[in-house]
Symmetry: C2
Subunit: 309 residues, 2 copies
Protein backbone atom coordinates (compact mmCIF):
# COMPACT_ATOMS: atom_id res chain seq x y z
CA UNK A 1 0.00 0.00 0.00
CA UNK A 2 1.51 3.29 -1.13
CA UNK A 3 1.98 5.77 1.70
CA UNK A 4 4.14 8.82 2.38
CA UNK A 5 4.38 11.71 4.82
CA UNK A 6 5.56 15.21 3.98
CA UNK A 7 6.64 17.70 6.61
CA UNK A 8 6.83 21.49 6.26
CA UNK A 9 8.33 23.69 8.97
CA UNK A 10 6.90 26.71 10.71
CA UNK A 11 8.35 30.04 9.65
CA UNK A 12 8.81 33.63 10.72
CA UNK A 13 7.45 36.05 8.13
CA UNK A 14 8.94 39.55 7.66
CA UNK A 15 11.90 38.79 9.98
CA UNK A 16 11.69 42.41 11.14
CA UNK A 17 13.52 44.06 8.26
CA UNK A 18 11.65 42.52 5.33
CA UNK A 19 7.93 43.15 5.44
CA UNK A 20 6.30 40.70 3.00
CA UNK A 21 9.62 39.63 1.45
CA UNK A 22 11.71 37.92 4.13
CA UNK A 23 10.96 34.64 5.85
CA UNK A 24 12.87 32.16 8.02
CA UNK A 25 12.13 28.43 8.37
CA UNK A 26 12.35 27.18 11.95
CA UNK A 27 14.00 24.09 13.42
CA UNK A 28 13.78 23.75 17.23
CA UNK A 29 17.23 23.37 18.72
CA UNK A 30 16.11 20.38 20.81
CA UNK A 31 15.78 18.35 17.62
CA UNK A 32 11.98 18.22 17.63
CA UNK A 33 9.88 19.26 14.66
CA UNK A 34 7.76 22.40 14.56
CA UNK A 35 5.51 22.19 11.55
CA UNK A 36 2.63 20.44 9.86
CA UNK A 37 2.56 16.98 8.31
CA UNK A 38 0.51 15.60 5.48
CA UNK A 39 0.30 11.83 5.00
CA UNK A 40 -1.11 10.33 1.82
CA UNK A 41 -2.30 6.73 1.90
CA UNK A 42 -3.53 4.83 -1.13
CA UNK A 43 -7.32 4.43 -0.90
CA UNK A 44 -10.27 3.27 -2.96
CA UNK A 45 -11.80 6.74 -2.86
CA UNK A 46 -10.46 10.19 -1.91
CA UNK A 47 -10.73 10.93 1.80
CA UNK A 48 -9.57 13.68 4.13
CA UNK A 49 -9.00 13.67 7.84
CA UNK A 50 -7.24 15.87 10.32
CA UNK A 51 -5.64 15.39 13.70
CA UNK A 52 -3.31 17.30 15.99
CA UNK A 53 -3.55 19.91 18.68
CA UNK A 54 -5.12 22.51 16.41
CA UNK A 55 -7.25 20.32 14.13
CA UNK A 56 -10.42 21.52 15.87
CA UNK A 57 -9.67 25.05 14.70
CA UNK A 58 -9.72 24.13 11.01
CA UNK A 59 -12.75 25.03 8.87
CA UNK A 60 -15.71 22.68 9.45
CA UNK A 61 -16.24 22.41 5.70
CA UNK A 62 -13.33 20.32 4.33
CA UNK A 63 -13.62 22.11 0.96
CA UNK A 64 -12.49 25.27 2.76
CA UNK A 65 -9.35 23.55 4.04
CA UNK A 66 -6.16 24.87 2.50
CA UNK A 67 -4.89 21.36 1.89
CA UNK A 68 -7.81 20.64 -0.38
CA UNK A 69 -7.48 24.04 -2.03
CA UNK A 70 -3.84 23.22 -2.67
CA UNK A 71 -4.92 19.90 -4.16
CA UNK A 72 -7.34 21.64 -6.52
CA UNK A 73 -4.57 24.04 -7.58
CA UNK A 74 -2.12 21.18 -8.12
CA UNK A 75 -4.70 19.32 -10.22
CA UNK A 76 -5.42 22.38 -12.35
CA UNK A 77 -1.94 21.93 -13.82
CA UNK A 78 -1.21 18.25 -13.28
CA UNK A 79 -4.63 16.75 -13.95
CA UNK A 80 -6.41 14.33 -11.64
CA UNK A 81 -4.38 12.83 -8.83
CA UNK A 82 -4.90 9.18 -7.99
CA UNK A 83 -7.26 8.36 -5.10
CA UNK A 84 -5.68 8.64 -1.65
CA UNK A 85 -6.57 9.49 1.88
CA UNK A 86 -5.09 12.79 3.04
CA UNK A 87 -4.23 13.05 6.69
CA UNK A 88 -3.29 16.52 7.90
CA UNK A 89 -1.54 16.58 11.27
CA UNK A 90 -2.09 20.17 12.33
CA UNK A 91 0.63 20.90 14.88
CA UNK A 92 0.85 24.66 14.32
CA UNK A 93 -1.69 26.97 15.90
CA UNK A 94 -3.82 28.88 13.39
CA UNK A 95 -3.55 32.69 13.32
CA UNK A 96 -0.33 32.42 15.28
CA UNK A 97 2.06 34.29 13.03
CA UNK A 98 4.18 31.18 12.56
CA UNK A 99 3.22 30.42 8.99
CA UNK A 100 0.58 27.85 9.90
CA UNK A 101 -1.30 28.19 6.60
CA UNK A 102 1.93 28.05 4.64
CA UNK A 103 3.10 24.89 6.41
CA UNK A 104 -0.15 23.05 5.66
CA UNK A 105 -0.13 24.16 2.03
CA UNK A 106 3.54 23.34 1.48
CA UNK A 107 3.37 19.94 3.19
CA UNK A 108 0.38 19.07 1.02
CA UNK A 109 2.00 20.18 -2.23
CA UNK A 110 5.25 18.37 -1.47
CA UNK A 111 3.25 15.24 -0.63
CA UNK A 112 1.20 15.38 -3.84
CA UNK A 113 4.32 15.99 -5.92
CA UNK A 114 6.18 13.08 -4.33
CA UNK A 115 3.20 10.77 -4.67
CA UNK A 116 3.19 11.15 -8.47
CA UNK A 117 6.96 10.99 -9.03
CA UNK A 118 7.99 14.64 -8.53
CA UNK A 119 6.88 16.16 -11.83
CA UNK A 120 7.46 19.66 -10.44
CA UNK A 121 10.57 21.41 -9.22
CA UNK A 122 10.90 23.93 -6.39
CA UNK A 123 10.00 26.99 -8.48
CA UNK A 124 6.77 25.43 -9.72
CA UNK A 125 5.85 24.29 -6.23
CA UNK A 126 6.58 27.79 -4.96
CA UNK A 127 4.19 29.26 -7.53
CA UNK A 128 1.45 26.78 -6.51
CA UNK A 129 2.06 27.58 -2.84
CA UNK A 130 1.89 31.32 -3.45
CA UNK A 131 -1.47 30.95 -5.15
CA UNK A 132 -2.83 28.71 -2.41
CA UNK A 133 -1.60 31.12 0.29
CA UNK A 134 -3.39 33.92 -1.54
CA UNK A 135 -6.66 32.08 -1.09
CA UNK A 136 -6.04 32.20 2.68
CA UNK A 137 -4.72 35.74 3.11
CA UNK A 138 -6.34 37.58 0.20
CA UNK A 139 -3.21 38.32 -1.83
CA UNK A 140 -0.07 36.52 -2.96
CA UNK A 141 2.67 36.53 -0.30
CA UNK A 142 5.70 34.31 -0.38
CA UNK A 143 7.30 35.27 2.91
CA UNK A 144 6.08 32.12 4.66
CA UNK A 145 5.67 29.63 1.83
CA UNK A 146 9.17 30.28 0.44
CA UNK A 147 11.11 29.40 3.62
CA UNK A 148 8.70 26.59 4.54
CA UNK A 149 9.22 25.01 1.11
CA UNK A 150 12.88 25.81 0.46
CA UNK A 151 14.32 26.18 3.96
CA UNK A 152 16.67 28.81 5.34
CA UNK A 153 16.28 32.55 5.44
CA UNK A 154 14.66 33.58 2.17
CA UNK A 155 14.40 36.85 0.32
CA UNK A 156 11.53 37.01 -2.15
CA UNK A 157 12.83 38.67 -5.31
CA UNK A 158 11.05 40.05 -8.37
CA UNK A 159 9.35 37.36 -10.42
CA UNK A 160 8.11 35.38 -7.43
CA UNK A 161 11.42 33.64 -6.80
CA UNK A 162 13.22 33.35 -3.48
CA UNK A 163 16.92 33.53 -2.75
CA UNK A 164 18.74 32.13 0.29
CA UNK A 165 20.49 34.65 2.53
CA UNK A 166 23.51 33.62 4.60
CA UNK A 167 22.65 33.72 8.31
CA UNK A 168 25.17 33.49 11.17
CA UNK A 169 25.10 29.95 12.54
CA UNK A 170 25.73 31.15 16.10
CA UNK A 171 22.44 33.06 16.24
CA UNK A 172 19.24 31.52 17.54
CA UNK A 173 15.62 32.50 17.00
CA UNK A 174 13.78 32.80 20.29
CA UNK A 175 10.14 32.23 19.40
CA UNK A 176 7.42 33.23 21.85
CA UNK A 177 3.92 31.88 21.49
CA UNK A 178 1.52 33.94 23.58
CA UNK A 179 -2.02 32.70 24.28
CA UNK A 180 -3.45 35.32 21.93
CA UNK A 181 -4.73 35.35 18.39
CA UNK A 182 -4.37 37.85 15.57
CA UNK A 183 -6.12 37.17 12.27
CA UNK A 184 -3.87 37.88 9.31
CA UNK A 185 -6.67 39.85 7.70
CA UNK A 186 -7.01 42.09 10.77
CA UNK A 187 -3.27 42.62 10.86
CA UNK A 188 -3.35 43.66 7.20
CA UNK A 189 -6.23 46.03 7.88
CA UNK A 190 -4.11 47.77 10.53
CA UNK A 191 -1.64 48.86 7.86
CA UNK A 192 -1.99 52.21 6.11
CA UNK A 193 -2.74 52.24 2.38
CA UNK A 194 -0.07 54.91 1.82
CA UNK A 195 3.18 55.72 3.56
CA UNK A 196 5.35 58.83 3.42
CA UNK A 197 8.00 58.63 0.70
CA UNK A 198 10.69 59.05 3.36
CA UNK A 199 9.38 55.95 5.15
CA UNK A 200 9.49 53.97 1.92
CA UNK A 201 13.10 55.01 1.41
CA UNK A 202 14.01 54.21 5.01
CA UNK A 203 12.40 50.77 4.71
CA UNK A 204 14.30 49.97 1.53
CA UNK A 205 17.59 51.29 2.85
CA UNK A 206 17.21 49.31 6.05
CA UNK A 207 16.34 46.08 4.23
CA UNK A 208 19.28 46.57 1.86
CA UNK A 209 21.55 47.18 4.85
CA UNK A 210 20.26 43.95 6.42
CA UNK A 211 21.13 41.97 3.28
CA UNK A 212 24.51 43.69 3.09
CA UNK A 213 25.21 42.92 6.76
CA UNK A 214 24.48 39.21 6.24
CA UNK A 215 26.77 38.97 3.23
CA UNK A 216 29.61 40.83 4.88
CA UNK A 217 29.18 39.34 8.38
CA UNK A 218 28.84 42.81 9.81
CA UNK A 219 27.19 42.18 13.16
CA UNK A 220 26.96 45.86 14.11
CA UNK A 221 25.05 46.61 10.91
CA UNK A 222 22.94 43.47 11.37
CA UNK A 223 21.87 44.67 14.79
CA UNK A 224 21.19 48.21 13.55
CA UNK A 225 19.06 46.97 10.66
CA UNK A 226 17.17 44.29 12.60
CA UNK A 227 14.09 46.47 12.81
CA UNK A 228 10.65 46.73 11.23
CA UNK A 229 10.03 50.29 10.09
CA UNK A 230 6.91 49.55 8.05
CA UNK A 231 4.46 47.19 9.74
CA UNK A 232 5.40 46.96 13.40
CA UNK A 233 4.46 50.55 14.34
CA UNK A 234 0.91 49.83 13.16
CA UNK A 235 0.60 46.30 14.50
CA UNK A 236 2.29 46.55 17.87
CA UNK A 237 -1.01 47.44 19.53
CA UNK A 238 -2.66 44.24 18.30
CA UNK A 239 -0.46 42.07 20.55
CA UNK A 240 -0.94 42.71 24.25
CA UNK A 241 2.37 43.27 25.99
CA UNK A 242 4.44 43.36 22.79
CA UNK A 243 6.37 46.55 23.51
CA UNK A 244 7.26 45.36 27.01
CA UNK A 245 8.39 41.98 25.66
CA UNK A 246 10.47 43.66 22.98
CA UNK A 247 12.12 45.92 25.54
CA UNK A 248 12.85 42.93 27.80
CA UNK A 249 14.40 40.99 24.91
CA UNK A 250 16.70 43.83 23.91
CA UNK A 251 17.70 44.50 27.51
CA UNK A 252 18.54 40.80 27.90
CA UNK A 253 20.95 41.07 25.00
CA UNK A 254 18.88 40.24 21.90
CA UNK A 255 20.17 41.61 18.61
CA UNK A 256 16.60 42.36 17.55
CA UNK A 257 13.00 41.54 18.42
CA UNK A 258 9.81 41.94 16.42
CA UNK A 259 6.47 40.37 15.60
CA UNK A 260 6.63 37.08 13.75
CA UNK A 261 4.63 37.76 10.61
CA UNK A 262 1.46 39.49 11.68
CA UNK A 263 1.76 38.14 15.23
CA UNK A 264 0.83 37.34 17.92
CA UNK A 265 4.00 35.24 17.96
CA UNK A 266 7.04 37.35 18.78
CA UNK A 267 10.62 36.45 18.00
CA UNK A 268 14.02 37.67 19.03
CA UNK A 269 17.44 36.89 17.62
CA UNK A 270 20.21 36.24 20.12
CA UNK A 271 23.44 34.34 20.45
CA UNK A 272 22.76 30.64 20.82
CA UNK A 273 23.31 29.33 24.34
CA UNK A 274 23.12 31.30 27.58
CA UNK A 275 22.19 34.54 25.89
CA UNK A 276 19.28 33.02 23.97
CA UNK A 277 18.03 31.29 27.13
CA UNK A 278 18.22 34.54 29.09
CA UNK A 279 16.34 36.36 26.35
CA UNK A 280 13.65 33.65 26.32
CA UNK A 281 13.17 33.90 30.08
CA UNK A 282 12.99 37.67 29.98
CA UNK A 283 10.39 37.58 27.23
CA UNK A 284 8.20 34.99 28.97
CA UNK A 285 8.36 37.05 32.17
CA UNK A 286 7.46 40.26 30.34
CA UNK A 287 4.44 38.62 28.72
CA UNK A 288 3.37 37.27 32.12
CA UNK A 289 3.69 40.74 33.65
CA UNK A 290 1.33 41.91 30.92
CA UNK A 291 -1.12 39.17 31.90
CA UNK A 292 -0.35 36.92 28.94
CA UNK A 293 0.82 33.32 29.20
CA UNK A 294 3.42 32.39 26.60
CA UNK A 295 5.89 29.62 25.92
CA UNK A 296 9.30 30.05 24.34
CA UNK A 297 10.96 27.79 21.79
CA UNK A 298 14.63 28.10 20.94
CA UNK A 299 15.14 27.52 17.24
CA UNK A 300 17.75 27.58 14.55
CA UNK A 301 17.11 27.87 10.85
CA UNK A 302 15.57 24.83 9.18
CA UNK A 303 17.90 24.79 6.21
CA UNK A 304 16.22 21.79 4.57
CA UNK A 305 12.70 23.10 4.23
CA UNK A 306 9.80 20.81 3.40
CA UNK A 307 10.66 17.16 2.96
CA UNK A 308 9.39 13.61 2.85
CA UNK A 309 9.89 12.04 6.27
CA UNK B 1 55.12 77.62 -0.34
CA UNK B 2 52.58 75.06 0.81
CA UNK B 3 50.23 73.94 -1.93
CA UNK B 4 48.03 70.90 -2.63
CA UNK B 5 45.23 69.82 -4.96
CA UNK B 6 42.37 67.53 -4.05
CA UNK B 7 40.21 65.79 -6.63
CA UNK B 8 36.72 64.35 -6.14
CA UNK B 9 35.00 62.32 -8.84
CA UNK B 10 31.57 62.74 -10.39
CA UNK B 11 28.97 60.23 -9.27
CA UNK B 12 25.68 58.65 -10.23
CA UNK B 13 23.09 59.02 -7.48
CA UNK B 14 20.30 56.45 -6.97
CA UNK B 15 21.87 53.99 -9.48
CA UNK B 16 18.31 53.03 -10.50
CA UNK B 17 17.53 50.63 -7.65
CA UNK B 18 18.50 52.78 -4.68
CA UNK B 19 16.70 56.11 -4.55
CA UNK B 20 18.60 58.35 -2.13
CA UNK B 21 20.79 55.52 -0.79
CA UNK B 22 22.95 54.23 -3.67
CA UNK B 23 25.69 56.08 -5.47
CA UNK B 24 28.55 55.21 -7.83
CA UNK B 25 31.80 57.15 -8.28
CA UNK B 26 32.85 57.50 -11.92
CA UNK B 27 36.23 57.03 -13.60
CA UNK B 28 36.28 57.52 -17.39
CA UNK B 29 37.67 54.43 -19.10
CA UNK B 30 40.00 56.57 -21.24
CA UNK B 31 41.99 57.42 -18.13
CA UNK B 32 40.87 61.04 -17.92
CA UNK B 33 39.37 62.56 -14.79
CA UNK B 34 35.72 63.52 -14.44
CA UNK B 35 35.33 65.60 -11.34
CA UNK B 36 36.14 68.80 -9.54
CA UNK B 37 39.49 69.95 -8.12
CA UNK B 38 40.26 72.22 -5.23
CA UNK B 39 43.78 73.64 -4.91
CA UNK B 40 44.93 75.34 -1.71
CA UNK B 41 47.92 77.65 -1.85
CA UNK B 42 49.48 79.31 1.16
CA UNK B 43 48.58 83.01 1.15
CA UNK B 44 48.84 86.09 3.33
CA UNK B 45 45.06 86.39 3.45
CA UNK B 46 42.19 84.03 2.57
CA UNK B 47 41.18 84.19 -1.10
CA UNK B 48 38.83 82.29 -3.36
CA UNK B 49 38.81 81.93 -7.12
CA UNK B 50 37.18 79.63 -9.59
CA UNK B 51 37.96 78.43 -13.08
CA UNK B 52 36.81 75.70 -15.42
CA UNK B 53 34.10 75.18 -18.00
CA UNK B 54 31.27 75.71 -15.54
CA UNK B 55 32.76 78.34 -13.25
CA UNK B 56 30.50 81.01 -14.74
CA UNK B 57 27.47 79.09 -13.45
CA UNK B 58 28.55 79.29 -9.82
CA UNK B 59 26.83 81.76 -7.47
CA UNK B 60 28.07 85.32 -7.98
CA UNK B 61 28.35 85.77 -4.22
CA UNK B 62 31.35 83.69 -3.10
CA UNK B 63 29.74 83.23 0.34
CA UNK B 64 27.03 81.18 -1.39
CA UNK B 65 29.60 78.85 -2.92
CA UNK B 66 29.51 75.33 -1.51
CA UNK B 67 33.26 75.25 -1.12
CA UNK B 68 33.12 78.18 1.29
CA UNK B 69 30.10 76.67 3.05
CA UNK B 70 32.11 73.46 3.44
CA UNK B 71 34.98 75.54 4.86
CA UNK B 72 32.67 77.13 7.42
CA UNK B 73 31.36 73.68 8.42
CA UNK B 74 34.89 72.30 8.70
CA UNK B 75 35.94 75.25 10.86
CA UNK B 76 32.93 74.82 13.16
CA UNK B 77 34.58 71.65 14.39
CA UNK B 78 38.26 72.20 13.67
CA UNK B 79 38.57 75.88 14.48
CA UNK B 80 40.15 78.45 12.18
CA UNK B 81 42.06 77.14 9.21
CA UNK B 82 45.31 78.88 8.25
CA UNK B 83 45.14 81.46 5.48
CA UNK B 84 45.23 80.05 1.97
CA UNK B 85 43.90 80.76 -1.48
CA UNK B 86 41.22 78.31 -2.58
CA UNK B 87 41.05 77.60 -6.27
CA UNK B 88 38.01 75.59 -7.39
CA UNK B 89 38.34 74.07 -10.85
CA UNK B 90 34.71 73.44 -11.73
CA UNK B 91 34.75 70.75 -14.41
CA UNK B 92 31.32 69.29 -13.72
CA UNK B 93 28.21 70.98 -15.04
CA UNK B 94 25.84 72.26 -12.35
CA UNK B 95 22.35 70.72 -12.13
CA UNK B 96 23.56 67.86 -14.30
CA UNK B 97 22.69 64.88 -12.11
CA UNK B 98 26.36 63.91 -11.90
CA UNK B 99 26.97 64.92 -8.31
CA UNK B 100 28.47 68.29 -9.17
CA UNK B 101 27.71 69.81 -5.76
CA UNK B 102 29.02 66.74 -4.00
CA UNK B 103 32.29 66.75 -5.97
CA UNK B 104 33.00 70.40 -5.08
CA UNK B 105 32.16 69.84 -1.42
CA UNK B 106 34.17 66.65 -1.13
CA UNK B 107 37.22 67.99 -2.96
CA UNK B 108 37.18 71.01 -0.65
CA UNK B 109 36.85 68.98 2.55
CA UNK B 110 39.59 66.55 1.52
CA UNK B 111 41.83 69.50 0.67
CA UNK B 112 41.21 71.26 4.00
CA UNK B 113 41.78 68.02 5.92
CA UNK B 114 45.04 67.29 4.12
CA UNK B 115 46.26 70.87 4.54
CA UNK B 116 46.10 70.59 8.33
CA UNK B 117 47.51 67.06 8.67
CA UNK B 118 44.40 64.91 8.26
CA UNK B 119 42.78 65.33 11.68
CA UNK B 120 39.59 63.67 10.41
CA UNK B 121 38.89 60.20 9.08
CA UNK B 122 36.46 59.19 6.32
CA UNK B 123 33.39 58.93 8.56
CA UNK B 124 33.88 62.45 9.95
CA UNK B 125 34.46 63.84 6.47
CA UNK B 126 31.32 62.03 5.30
CA UNK B 127 29.31 63.70 8.06
CA UNK B 128 30.68 67.14 7.11
CA UNK B 129 29.93 66.46 3.44
CA UNK B 130 26.37 65.35 4.20
CA UNK B 131 25.71 68.58 6.09
CA UNK B 132 27.23 70.71 3.34
CA UNK B 133 25.21 68.87 0.67
CA UNK B 134 22.07 69.55 2.71
CA UNK B 135 22.73 73.27 2.38
CA UNK B 136 22.59 72.79 -1.41
CA UNK B 137 19.66 70.39 -1.79
CA UNK B 138 17.60 71.19 1.30
CA UNK B 139 18.02 67.92 3.16
CA UNK B 140 20.80 65.50 4.04
CA UNK B 141 21.54 63.04 1.24
CA UNK B 142 24.64 60.91 1.05
CA UNK B 143 24.07 59.22 -2.30
CA UNK B 144 26.55 61.48 -4.10
CA UNK B 145 28.92 62.58 -1.34
CA UNK B 146 29.53 59.00 -0.13
CA UNK B 147 30.81 57.59 -3.45
CA UNK B 148 32.62 60.83 -4.34
CA UNK B 149 34.47 60.72 -1.01
CA UNK B 150 34.95 56.98 -0.54
CA UNK B 151 34.86 55.65 -4.09
CA UNK B 152 33.10 52.63 -5.51
CA UNK B 153 29.43 51.74 -5.43
CA UNK B 154 28.13 52.80 -2.04
CA UNK B 155 25.05 51.88 -0.05
CA UNK B 156 24.10 54.43 2.58
CA UNK B 157 23.11 52.52 5.71
CA UNK B 158 21.39 53.61 8.93
CA UNK B 159 23.50 56.04 10.96
CA UNK B 160 24.80 57.98 7.96
CA UNK B 161 27.48 55.46 7.09
CA UNK B 162 28.17 54.00 3.67
CA UNK B 163 29.17 50.48 2.73
CA UNK B 164 30.92 49.35 -0.46
CA UNK B 165 28.99 46.97 -2.70
CA UNK B 166 30.84 44.57 -4.99
CA UNK B 167 30.26 45.49 -8.63
CA UNK B 168 31.16 43.31 -11.63
CA UNK B 169 34.40 44.58 -13.12
CA UNK B 170 33.27 43.75 -16.66
CA UNK B 171 30.39 46.21 -16.55
CA UNK B 172 30.71 49.82 -17.71
CA UNK B 173 28.63 52.86 -16.93
CA UNK B 174 27.57 54.64 -20.09
CA UNK B 175 26.96 58.24 -19.02
CA UNK B 176 24.99 60.56 -21.27
CA UNK B 177 25.13 64.31 -20.75
CA UNK B 178 22.29 65.97 -22.62
CA UNK B 179 22.24 69.72 -23.17
CA UNK B 180 19.42 70.11 -20.65
CA UNK B 181 19.17 71.16 -17.03
CA UNK B 182 17.08 69.88 -14.16
CA UNK B 183 17.33 71.61 -10.80
CA UNK B 184 17.57 69.12 -7.94
CA UNK B 185 14.88 71.05 -6.10
CA UNK B 186 12.47 70.75 -9.06
CA UNK B 187 13.22 67.04 -9.34
CA UNK B 188 12.41 66.63 -5.64
CA UNK B 189 9.18 68.58 -6.07
CA UNK B 190 8.09 66.11 -8.76
CA UNK B 191 8.03 63.30 -6.21
CA UNK B 192 4.83 62.45 -4.32
CA UNK B 193 4.77 63.00 -0.56
CA UNK B 194 3.15 59.60 -0.05
CA UNK B 195 3.38 56.32 -1.93
CA UNK B 196 1.16 53.23 -1.79
CA UNK B 197 2.37 50.70 0.78
CA UNK B 198 2.72 48.14 -2.00
CA UNK B 199 5.12 50.47 -3.85
CA UNK B 200 7.20 50.90 -0.71
CA UNK B 201 7.43 47.12 -0.36
CA UNK B 202 8.30 46.69 -4.03
CA UNK B 203 11.02 49.33 -3.78
CA UNK B 204 12.58 47.68 -0.74
CA UNK B 205 12.34 44.20 -2.21
CA UNK B 206 13.91 45.35 -5.45
CA UNK B 207 16.77 47.15 -3.70
CA UNK B 208 17.41 44.12 -1.49
CA UNK B 209 17.40 41.90 -4.59
CA UNK B 210 19.96 44.26 -6.20
CA UNK B 211 22.28 43.96 -3.20
CA UNK B 212 21.76 40.20 -3.13
CA UNK B 213 22.52 39.95 -6.86
CA UNK B 214 25.80 41.84 -6.45
CA UNK B 215 26.96 39.65 -3.58
CA UNK B 216 26.05 36.40 -5.32
CA UNK B 217 27.12 37.46 -8.84
CA UNK B 218 23.63 36.68 -10.11
CA UNK B 219 23.51 38.59 -13.39
CA UNK B 220 19.90 37.62 -14.16
CA UNK B 221 18.76 39.05 -10.84
CA UNK B 222 21.00 42.08 -11.31
CA UNK B 223 19.31 42.83 -14.61
CA UNK B 224 15.83 42.25 -13.20
CA UNK B 225 16.46 44.56 -10.24
CA UNK B 226 18.25 47.30 -12.17
CA UNK B 227 15.19 49.51 -12.12
CA UNK B 228 13.91 52.59 -10.35
CA UNK B 229 10.40 51.95 -9.03
CA UNK B 230 10.19 55.04 -6.85
CA UNK B 231 11.51 58.21 -8.49
CA UNK B 232 11.83 57.56 -12.21
CA UNK B 233 8.09 57.28 -12.94
CA UNK B 234 7.66 60.82 -11.58
CA UNK B 235 10.81 62.34 -13.05
CA UNK B 236 10.95 60.79 -16.50
CA UNK B 237 8.93 63.68 -17.94
CA UNK B 238 11.47 66.25 -16.74
CA UNK B 239 14.12 64.98 -19.18
CA UNK B 240 13.14 65.39 -22.82
CA UNK B 241 13.62 62.16 -24.72
CA UNK B 242 14.40 60.05 -21.65
CA UNK B 243 11.98 57.20 -22.35
CA UNK B 244 13.20 56.89 -25.94
CA UNK B 245 16.83 56.91 -24.80
CA UNK B 246 16.09 54.28 -22.18
CA UNK B 247 14.35 52.09 -24.75
CA UNK B 248 17.29 52.47 -27.15
CA UNK B 249 19.79 51.56 -24.43
CA UNK B 250 17.92 48.40 -23.46
CA UNK B 251 17.44 47.38 -27.09
CA UNK B 252 21.16 47.84 -27.67
CA UNK B 253 21.87 45.36 -24.88
CA UNK B 254 22.13 47.44 -21.71
CA UNK B 255 21.45 45.65 -18.45
CA UNK B 256 19.61 48.71 -17.18
CA UNK B 257 19.15 52.41 -17.86
CA UNK B 258 17.83 55.19 -15.67
CA UNK B 259 18.27 58.82 -14.71
CA UNK B 260 21.54 59.69 -13.00
CA UNK B 261 20.41 61.23 -9.74
CA UNK B 262 17.67 63.67 -10.53
CA UNK B 263 18.84 63.97 -14.15
CA UNK B 264 19.15 65.24 -16.81
CA UNK B 265 22.18 62.95 -17.11
CA UNK B 266 21.13 59.42 -18.02
CA UNK B 267 23.20 56.33 -17.48
CA UNK B 268 23.12 52.77 -18.66
CA UNK B 269 25.06 49.74 -17.50
CA UNK B 270 26.43 47.45 -20.16
CA UNK B 271 29.27 45.04 -20.75
CA UNK B 272 32.52 46.92 -21.21
CA UNK B 273 33.76 47.00 -24.81
CA UNK B 274 31.64 46.65 -27.96
CA UNK B 275 28.38 46.40 -26.08
CA UNK B 276 28.96 49.55 -24.06
CA UNK B 277 30.01 51.42 -27.20
CA UNK B 278 26.90 50.25 -29.06
CA UNK B 279 24.72 51.31 -26.14
CA UNK B 280 26.38 54.74 -26.07
CA UNK B 281 25.79 55.27 -29.78
CA UNK B 282 22.17 54.18 -29.54
CA UNK B 283 21.55 56.55 -26.64
CA UNK B 284 23.19 59.54 -28.35
CA UNK B 285 21.12 58.84 -31.48
CA UNK B 286 17.90 58.55 -29.48
CA UNK B 287 18.55 61.87 -27.74
CA UNK B 288 19.28 63.47 -31.12
CA UNK B 289 16.01 62.08 -32.53
CA UNK B 290 14.28 63.81 -29.64
CA UNK B 291 16.01 67.07 -30.57
CA UNK B 292 18.56 66.96 -27.75
CA UNK B 293 22.32 67.06 -28.22
CA UNK B 294 24.19 64.81 -25.81
CA UNK B 295 27.66 63.38 -25.38
CA UNK B 296 28.46 59.96 -24.00
CA UNK B 297 31.29 59.04 -21.62
CA UNK B 298 32.23 55.44 -20.96
CA UNK B 299 33.16 54.99 -17.32
CA UNK B 300 34.11 52.38 -14.81
CA UNK B 301 33.84 52.74 -11.07
CA UNK B 302 36.28 55.12 -9.43
CA UNK B 303 37.25 52.82 -6.59
CA UNK B 304 39.63 55.32 -4.97
CA UNK B 305 37.24 58.19 -4.39
CA UNK B 306 38.50 61.65 -3.50
CA UNK B 307 42.25 62.03 -3.24
CA UNK B 308 45.18 64.39 -3.21
CA UNK B 309 46.63 64.57 -6.70
Amino acid sequence: MKRLTAYAPASIGNVAAGFDVLGAALAPLDGSLLGDRVTLTEAAAPAFRTSGAFAHRLPADPAQNLVLKAKALFEETFGHLPAFEIHLEKALPVNSGLGSSAASIVAALVAFNAYVGEPYGPSELLAFAGKAEASASGSVHYDNVAPSLLGGLRLVVPGGKARALPFPSDLAFVVLRPALEVATKDARAALPAQVPLADAVAFGANLAAFVQALHTQDSALLGASFQDLLAEPHRAGLVKGFREVQKAALEAGALGCSLSGSGPAVFAVAEEGDEARAVAEAMVAAFRNAGVEADAILCGLDTQGARIL
